[in-house]
Symmetry: C2
Subunit: 572 residues, 2 copies
Amino acid sequence: MATTTTTVTTNGKKTSWEEAARAKREAILATLPREYLIPEPLPMPEEQPNVTGAFAHKYLSPREVEITETNAADIVTKTTKGEWSAVEVTKAFIHRACMAHQLLGCLHETDFANAIATAEKLDAYFAEHKKPMGMLHGLPVSLKDQCHMKGLDTTMGYVGWLGTWEGDASSPLYKTHESVIVNEMRRQGAVLYCKTAVPQTLMCGETVNNIVGWVRNPINRLVSCGGSSGGEGALVGFKGSPGGFGTDIGGSVRIPSAFNGLYGLRPSNGRLPYEGMANSMDGQNTILSVIGPIAGSVDSIRLLTKAVVDSEPWWEDPLVHEIPWREEQAEKVRSDGKLVFGVLRDDGIVRPTAPVRRGLEAVVEAVKKAGHEVVDWVPPKECDHKLLYEIANTTWGLDGGTDVFKAFGLSGEPPAPHLMVHVPETLQAEKTASEIAALNVRKRRVQKAYMDFWNSTAKTTSTGRPIDAIIAPPCPHPPAMENKFPYTFATTFVNVLDYSAVIVPSGVVVDPAVDKPDEGLTWRSDVERKAHEGFDPLIQKGAPIAVQLIGRRLQEEKMLAVAEVVDKALKA
Amino acid sequence: MATTTTTVTTNGKKTSWEEAARAKREAILATLPREYLIPEPLPMPEEQPNVTGAFAHKYLSPREVEITETNAADIVTKTTKGEWSAVEVTKAFIHRACMAHQLLGCLHETDFANAIATAEKLDAYFAEHKKPMGMLHGLPVSLKDQCHMKGLDTTMGYVGWLGTWEGDASSPLYKTHESVIVNEMRRQGAVLYCKTAVPQTLMCGETVNNIVGWVRNPINRLVSCGGSSGGEGALVGFKGSPGGFGTDIGGSVRIPSAFNGLYGLRPSNGRLPYEGMANSMDGQNTILSVIGPIAGSVDSIRLLTKAVVDSEPWWEDPLVHEIPWREEQAEKVRSDGKLVFGVLRDDGIVRPTAPVRRGLEAVVEAVKKAGHEVVDWVPPKECDHKLLYEIANTTWGLDGGTDVFKAFGLSGEPPAPHLMVHVPETLQAEKTASEIAALNVRKRRVQKAYMDFWNSTAKTTSTGRPIDAIIAPPCPHPPAMENKFPYTFATTFVNVLDYSAVIVPSGVVVDPAVDKPDEGLTWRSDVERKAHEGFDPLIQKGAPIAVQLIGRRLQEEKMLAVAEVVDKALKA
């Protein structure tokens, strides 16, 4: 792959990709109000790994702490009643977002002046009408840098996209077009104020690009914020945003949610609108990326999801199904009382590392103690996870890298070495229509086999119903050290099946006194060995461990209710 | 393309494709009970074009006429109350189906003995429990020969598939596997008794293959029954079945419904289960084929659709969305009262022929008279029908013919000349992943533009709502003469948009005294010229003209209610 410096045209001037990236990096920093910045020199990550809580509070007023430490759902109960002003809430989060970017490098774009103007309008609206503009009246919401917003670049981490519409320098859509999710957030009264960092190509469990570099985790700056919605994870994890939207084609909402101690929803295809967003390998239709919320509590991700569904996105995105909010799914979970979980302790490819096993068992014990049933989850060979893994990997390689190499080629910038799990070193042959069709058939058959297996569990559960959810680790190791994320499949099998899944923190954090690397084991594969090499209790100390709660297709309301049950059990 | 006679292996014996086809043809005939057959010699089509009504009644008892002339919905009101026995109803339809096959050649498979045994069990169940087995208790239902049923071949019209599972002679699924729709029909108490003819490849608006030949229209045997669900259309049109299921990727439910004076529904993707069915180019994911009902009244196609939805197919087919029956959509149509229709008089490619225009205007006048509004439907250039046409044609050609050539190659049989609209003469290069992705993006953008245009009509309708439905012809010419069906796009744009559409007979039939070929016109394209060459009032005399009522994605309940409004207006 070409890594030589070539010239790119940015704003009519020819420049190197390094210079274009540096200029953008500085331009982002220049938009941060000076009064919101932590005085330099900043502490080094080794010196101050955790920058949340007490460290952050030193640079905020008590009122700013109160506001920014409040969950999205609770903020909205105040802003929609006029108890908190939109302007005050917005400014508090802008302040904390600026600190987040200083410490973690998590922003691609800011829109602070427009955000404050929007907040002022919302306050004026409330003053006049004595009612909120929408469900999210006055709530700051951050968005992954795949969303197009008027007046802002969308780079998706590509230097070659700077100053263009998705690489097209002549498109009239540049800085004028808005994604459907953006429209809907505005209509619901959200305050949009920034766009967050992504890895080049989006196909990475970390977040790294040549503009903002490698984005850090606020709880432990020695580890990754996750990816690809890593800027969201870092920002929300630092409480520089009360919640936002990422996207997920292989785990990209769930990994950052898990790594930053947050809650996240991966809905099924066709529930939330992707229309008008930038993407990698756009038009690849075998496994579709979905948009999903990341926030600090179950009720906050529910609020964000419901706000979109209640906006009736099926009139704006031709791929969204007309499925209104189904509170009855949640009510059924509550009235059923006893739930049955399948626990996935080993997917047959990678056995999780010690702290991840400990997090998983903490959840299993908590739900058992709350009166629920837990059974082992071992899918049969017709749909075992190796098959699902292979289908996902084949899908990522369908175009042989054509799309991402084109994006790199616009500026001549090199891909980060972190991407090498899913991006080939050189351009490969593309798959043909027949090969893609055969893959689609194979995928459908595995989906059917998994469905039949899930149905079959009704015969063995004490409730007489199929299991309600799978409990599984989102990652075999704790939040990744730099360039040590070899394996996304713990989340990706969910994308192959198009299931709905929620991330819930287990309450367990890495503890070097308890969590030891496994010794004397024989690795079943290179990927298992690498996953275990990705665990170092001394470096990952204090980093959070989460679980995925996985439901079937289009069970978002049910899975949010299940997540609430589990969350309460863990906190009991 | 190879048209030489090669040897194929059928049931362990080597034989030519002609011999294998002849043997199957005779085997089908041999399953028809002799007492149900019309005494030979049969009248020639020219002599007796219309074999429905009085002609058919000559060979049936008054009681058989009473039963078989009753619509599916009305049959079920009797069979579910024990007023009519399942056995009597089943035998009456078996009798008439045998006559249909003699006269039209519309059956691929029969399962009469099992059907009668099923009917006996249903009657015994009712006698014991005093309640029906399901919503379709005792209703005979016919199925297109893409559905797999235990004990029967599925050939899809390919000689090379005889004695195999979709061409695979060693598959254990052969004659053992059942499609999900088959399971659901059985669970709802339907009596399955036959599978109906399709054209080789399924990509044809007529129905023709080397086993049963060219399938005729019961209302006028000089014209086609339509395709690809043409066997269904012919059988239901002859009242040899009260209703059944076809499939539709480009018009294949709607064309046979229209040609045979019937009602048919093309639902959107993900509403009814396709799981476990044979298909052409299986795994092509750009435009998905859907399954839909064909029957003699709106309430009959609603009954068949609701019976499937109420079976909760989302637990059996991983591609079906969990969308229960939404009677509220229908209630809204009724309570709205006034509806607004957009009428598509010319798609910019082919202007319809005279009788089709007359049928369209009859519908327009009827709905206006009933108090509804009709506006012209002229999509803007971002989503004009030429773009949609091109996307569909590109999709059909993605694999360059690989799949269908493979199927022909199994036996060495030649494709029928009728197929040449969509099947290339020689194998073409396959499209690559990037080309397919670009097509998918183009399709999505056109879907979005069409959606935005539809939304924009709210500004001009008197109701303040966007138009409720498009009224459009399903075909520019009347039911096709043999090998004169050059243009399926009047239906296919609906598949590109994944819209829900219902076929309703206009009440107009071809009348040589009124309907004259256009003269002195300049054809805008070859396809327009050919479409007009496909109209001959003397041959197509008496053949029915239908309209499509097209709604947006996943509006099946709404569109069935709209169809009822239009149907009542036409009959007023």
